[in-house]
């Protein structure tokens, strides 16, 4: 890229360097911070300030190109800095300083062009928005976007004010409130960038041309007679749009996720103000969310822990996993889905079932995936993937496969039978994995003649979409088997957590507690509508009765039977089981059977009014908060027992597993962060109170009591 930048280096710092082409009057600021990316921190703020001082003092300056010496343009805020931020006054001051620098850049009297040779995200895109013109490399790998809300914060470098003024309210709100990014070609269509260039050389040539043609570039919002694209401030249209956006946020998150709400407020409140003061409004909202517990908890789990899980930190690796051919047992939703996922990542896959009809359905499923998820690959690419998937009714066809993933019915005897049959033909060095969601791996491994190479790979449905894999170590599973399995997981692009064995492992165990508590609440006579809304208000991704219908009551019943067989504990509360039995008797088996906790009419659903009649009586006390606490603490108590039983090997896995596996409230950071935020003494006291008044299933596990007594936390406080 260096040949594309013209001019002598006139200054250099840890932030980057400034070139000046005196003949053309063009200064190029090349950001190149230590490490592999440009991120916004104190070095950035000081470096940008210094560079602007130097540039704006240059004789004959006619324009500025802002560029990057790294692969990406700028990745946005330095997350370590953001995570540590707790002092609102200091954070606000730093935000205002950065805001003033961006303002200085766009009001300096010369045109400024952002040269997006790589992605510009978050604060990086905000820097680009503070330029007069954005040119991106015409490459789908180059993205622009504002993902801030995904870490519990909002844009703080001016995007809530510049973007709506640049592209109009609606597209700006979509990007900001949903934390979206756009690939360069799409970004051009919506006006998120102004031009594309086929290569870096052309990009810089276009930048110089823009400067030559726009000697007095001024941001639209700094021009007299600035007109909004779409609704203007204070109009009925704008009010309607904000009302709709607010409703959409509440429908989606039931008030449990603050950042998008704050972003929306910043957009609306800043919209009608003078531009400089609008930036102040944003900075105040940004500060408020940045120093909040929610941001800390989301960053810890969704950035640090998720990143560590993605990088397999602390987990074994192997140079050659020796997995080329993969067999999937069972062509159902999970089996066929897994076949598509593995084949699309280059594996040779063979799917085995016992019925031709099942194979047919599996084939159809994969064909559909090809035309939907594989749409961008074109017919040829789609065919290549489908061609890698073979379908068979014959065990012998599995001869020599390196990895078997069993996805047959949740019955240990059936699983034992297929294990014996397939182990007889598969590669002797191969791995046998069970996709069971709950049955102990050590028990299933009893059917295996190579228990060191028997492992649990618990995928989530729909597997094409759900990123998590819960890897379960049986008593005899070897570290090498884990390492090889992890290599497979990495190649198919899934996010692993690794847990020890025990009924329900980690995710199903906690999920079961959530679902059964909701049924217990129904049995006690709490309003089912309130139960569903309380779960939403607590931040749970899906309300329990709705999701129970989706996984089906028969699966629930099945799980209960397995649980009685394998779990050491007392089992679920009996009143809820009676409700399940009654629903089964009425044929209300869930969504697939057309009725369950809900009634289904076309595309709409509503809670079945008859549910109330299944209740044993009327609860003495009820209400949103009581129900919310019951639903959350039922899960927390179960998490405590999973910790006590040694199922959780690393705390991060409990957090990542809960959020990505079962939709545990993401804004809380996961169950352990949830406990830390309340403080373990309060958690233990609340659990004891519930154990006394509701049921012993709430009794806090000894580990929680111990930690509370010692004043310990799961994660260091920030």
């Amino acid at each position: 890229m260096s040949e594309t930048i013209v001019g002598e280096v006139v200054s250099e710092s840890a932030f980057g360097r400034v070139h000046f082409d005196a003949a053309a009057g063009v200064a190029t600021l090349v950001m190149q911070m230590p490490g592999r990316a440009n991120t916004i921190d104190q070095t950035f703020i000081e470096g940008l300030g210094g560079a602007l001082d130097r540039i704006q003092a240059l004789d004959g300056l006619r324009g500025i190109i802002v560029a990057s010496g790294h692969k990406d343009f700028c990745a946005g805020a330095n997350i370590d800095m953001l995570y540590q931020a707790r002092d609102a006054a200091a954070f606000y001051a730093a935000t205002r300083t950065l805001g003033a620098l961006f303002r200085r850049l766009e009001t300096g009297g010369v045109p400024v062009v952002a040269a997006l040779t790589g992605s510009a995200l978050g604060g990086g895109y905000e820097l680009a928005l503070a330029c007069h013109h954005r040119i991106a490399l015409d490459d789908a790998r180059v993205q622009v976007g504002l993902p801030e809300v995904s870490l519990g914060v909002i844009p703080g470098g001016g995007a809530t004010q510049r973007l709506p003024r640049l592209v109009g309210l609606q597209p700006a709100m979509e990007m900001i409130l949903q934390g979206q990014s756009r690939r360069a070609p799409k970004a051009l269509q919506a006006g998120f960038v102004d031009a594309l260039a086929p290569d870096a050389e052309a990009l810089f040539a276009q930048a110089r041309a823009y400067i030559a043609e726009h000697p007095k570039a001024q941001q639209p919002w700094d021009q007299k007679g600035f007109r909004w694209k779409g609704p203007r401030p204070g109009t009925d249209d704008a009010r309607g749009l904000f009302m709709g956006a607010a409703a959409m946020l509440y429908k989606k998150a039931a008030g449990a996720v603050p950042a998008p709400e704050m972003a929306l407020r910043a957009i609306q409140e800043g919209m009608g103000l003078s531009f400089d003061r609008a930036l102040e409004v944003e900075a105040r909202y940004f500060t408020h969310v940045a120093v909040s517990d929610t941001a800390k908890d989301m960053i810890r789990t969704l950035w640090y822990h998720r990143g560590a899980a993605e990088r397999h930190e602390g987990l074994p690796s192997v140079a050659d996993p020796a997995i080329a051919r993969v067999a999937i047992l069972g062509a159902g939703m999970m089996g066929a889905g897994l076949a598509w996922v593995a084949a699309s990542k280059g594996y040779e896959v063979i799917v085995k079932d016992i019925a031709e009809a099942a194979l047919e359905r599996g084939r159809a499923h994969c064909a559909e995936q090809a035309t939907t998820r594989g749409k961008h690959l074109g017919a040829e690419g789609q065919q290549a993937i489908l061609a890698r998937i073979a379908w068979t009714l014959d065990d012998a066809a599995l001869a020599g496969v390196d990895l078997v993933i069993e996805a047959v019915v949740e019955n240990d005897e059936v699983k034992a039978k297929v294990t014996r049959a397939v182990e007889a033909v598969m590669s002797p060095a191969g791995i046998f994995a069970s996709n069971t969601s709950a049955i102990p791996i050590t028990h299933l491994a009893q059917a295996s003649v190579r228990r060191d190479r028997f492992i649990g790979l618990h995928f989530f449905s729909p597997v094409e979409q759900m990123p998590l894999v819960e890897i379960v170590m049986g008593a005899d599973t070897s570290e090498d088997t884990l390492a090889r399995s992890l290599a497979f997981i990495r190649r198919i692009g899934k996010l692993p957590i690794v847990v020890n064995d025990g009924y329900g492992f980690f995710t199903s165990r906690v999920f079961g507690a959530y679902l059964m508590e909701s049924v217990e609440l129904v049995a006690e006579g709490h309003d089912p509508v309130l139960i569903e809304q309380a779960a939403r208000a607590a931040g749970m991704a899906v309300p329990p009765l709705k999701v129970f219908d989706e996984v089906s009551l028969s699966l629930g019943e099945h799980a209960m039977a397995q649980r009685r067989k394998f779990a050491k504990d007392q089992g679920p509360p009996p009143a809820g089981l009676a409700v399940l039995a009654k629903l089964a008797e009425l044929g209300r088996m869930g969504k697939a059977s057309g009725k369950g906790f809900y009634e289904y009419e076309g595309r709409t659903r509503h809670l079945w009014p008859g549910l109330r009649e299944l209740a044993s009586g009327t609860p003495a006390r009820t209400g949103l908060e009581l129900i919310r606490d019951r639903l959350m603490y039922a899960q927390i108590a179960e998490v405590g027992r999973a910790l006590e039983d040694g199922v959780v090997r690393q705390y991060r896995d409990a957090e990542v597993g809960a959020i990505f596996g079962i939709g545990f409230a993401p804004a809380t950071g996961g169950p352990l962060s949830w406990m830390d935020r309340r403080g373990l003494p309060r958690v233990v006291a609340d659990l004891r109170a519930l154990a006394d008044t509701v049921g012993t299933r709430y009794t806090p596990a000894p580990i929680l009591v111990r930690m509370a007594e010692r004043g310990e936390r799961f994660f260091p406080a920030v």
Binding site: G234, E269, R277, R284, Y285, H288
Partner: protein, 417 residues
């Protein structure tokens, strides 16, 4: 609340007629009313909610006991549209059973809210009411709500000029010179500076903060303590061009044919400042105060509102004050402290000259020339300022009055208890 005694017949309105007491009064600082003003970024509803929260928190108030919130607000459009009082009640986290009403009596709105609340309490219809007001002049410019005052039908049929022309007409009629007005303005600034330094406003002032608790503004930012006669002398009269070149002075002849020419003496330095701010006053009955453990600070002795000649417009404080005094059975000499809104310097000067009030007893901590005049809030602010002054100086009675657009006046007399 009094415990219900079912052996007695239901209480009638006559039984309950009595006094209205002021338990507390708070205000925000006044921010410069333009886009560089500190409070420009604060939504007006939040500004008023700030004062409602302060009343609640300072007094440990169970807000469910509040029977109404009356807010003065003049320009009820845009951010100040809809019923701001009710939205502020809810944003402030008051009990949802508390209703709200937003009233507009132009510049008298804040005091109108106080009088309205006092009337409800004194009549026995309500036992506890919050009165106050808000105006964010930076966000909702004066006059942006439209209205009939500039319709040819009204201007030609009834008679109406902009307030500045009225102020200059009043000065001309009363023989008030530019020097008189400038001297008053310099004194207003000096008094305000002394009051700020001595902490006279501290009791009533509540800072405006953001969601993180960072202070947005904690002191009045409009005063210019360095103001002198010399600096004011440089300012050009604000309404001269409008009056002479655009001919608006001519309209005044409709009511004041004897005025040959208006002397334009008012300018930005001897008129009230355009600012943002809010205020709230807690008003209730003696019984309610006892029941809630609230100590009354003052009794409302009387209230008055009047209409006057609309082109002169700004002389209303005099008939309004006379009426309030008469209703209270008092004489002008019975009043220890006066707060006369400094809409224009001419207004308090005329008031002092006509009623024979010594400047030492009037606007002792300065006024709107220094501090600014957030239209809908000023009346409630002046009430608090007056009460603070009476308490500080150990005095008994105070009179608050404001001139009002459309030729009205409003006054309230309070007495410490």
């Amino acid at each position: 609340m009094r415990p219900a005694d079912t052996s007695l017949p239901p209480m009638t309105r006559e039984d309950a007629v009595g006094d209205a007491f002021i338990f507390d009064a708070v205000r925000t600082p006044r921010g410069r009313g333009k886009d560089s003003g500190s409070l420009y970024t604060v939504r007006p509803v939040e500004l008023f909610a700030t004062t409602l929260r302060a009343l609640r928190d300072r007094n440990g108030l169970d807000t469910a006991q509040v029977e109404d919130v009356v807010a003065g607000c003049v320009t009820q459009t845009g951010d100040q549209g809809q019923c701001l009082a009710r939205t502020a009640v809810l944003e402030a986290g008051y009990d949802q059973g508390v209703p709200g009403v937003t009233v507009n009596r132009f510049c008298g709105s804040g005091l109108e809210a106080v009088n309205h609340a006092a009337a409800l309490v004194a009549a026995g219809y309500s036992d506890l009411v919050v009165a106050g007001g808000v105006e964010s002049m930076s966000r909702v410019p004066m006059g942006s709500d439209g209205g009939a005052l500039s319709d040819p039908a009204f201007v030609l049929g009834v008679g109406s000029v902009p307030q500045g022309i009225s102020a200059d007409l009043l000065a001309t009629l009363r023989g008030i010179t530019r020097e008189d007005a400038d001297a008053f303005a310099v004194e207003s600034q000096a008094r305000c500076a002394r009051a700020q330094a001595a902490g006279h406003f501290d009791r009533s002032l509540v800072p405006v903060t953001d969601l993180s608790g960072l202070v947005i503004l904690d002191r009045d930012e409009h005063p210019r303590p360095d103001t002198t006669l010399e600096t004011l002398a440089k300012l050009k009269p604000s309404f001269e061009m409008m009056g002479t070149m655009f001919g608006l002075d001519a309209i005044t002849r409709k009511a004041w044919p004897q005025v040959e020419a208006i002397r334009h003496i008012h300018h930005a330095g001897n008129s009230s400042g355009i600012v943002d701010g809010a205020a709230a006053v807690l008003i209730g009955s003696a019984d309610k105060g006892r029941a809630l453990g609230l100590r009354p600070r003052a009794r409302i002795r009387s209230i008055a509102m009047v209409g006057d000649e609309p082109i002169l417009m700004l002389d209303g404080p005099i008939p309004a004050s006379r009426k309030a005094l008469a209703k209270a059975g008092m004489e002008i000499g019975d009043i220890d402290r006066f707060e006369v809104n400094e809409a224009f310097a001419t207004v308090p000067i005329t008031f002092m000259r006509t009623l024979g009030v010594d400047h030492a007893r009037l606007n002792v901590d300065g006024g709107a020339i220094a501090l600014g005049h957030p239209l809908g809030a000023t009346g409630a602010m002046l009430l608090g300022t007056c009460l603070d002054a009476l308490e500080r100086e150990g005095l008994g009675t105070g009179l608050v009055t404001l001139c009002i657009g459309g030729g009205m006046g409003i006054a309230t007399i309070i007495e410490r208890v």
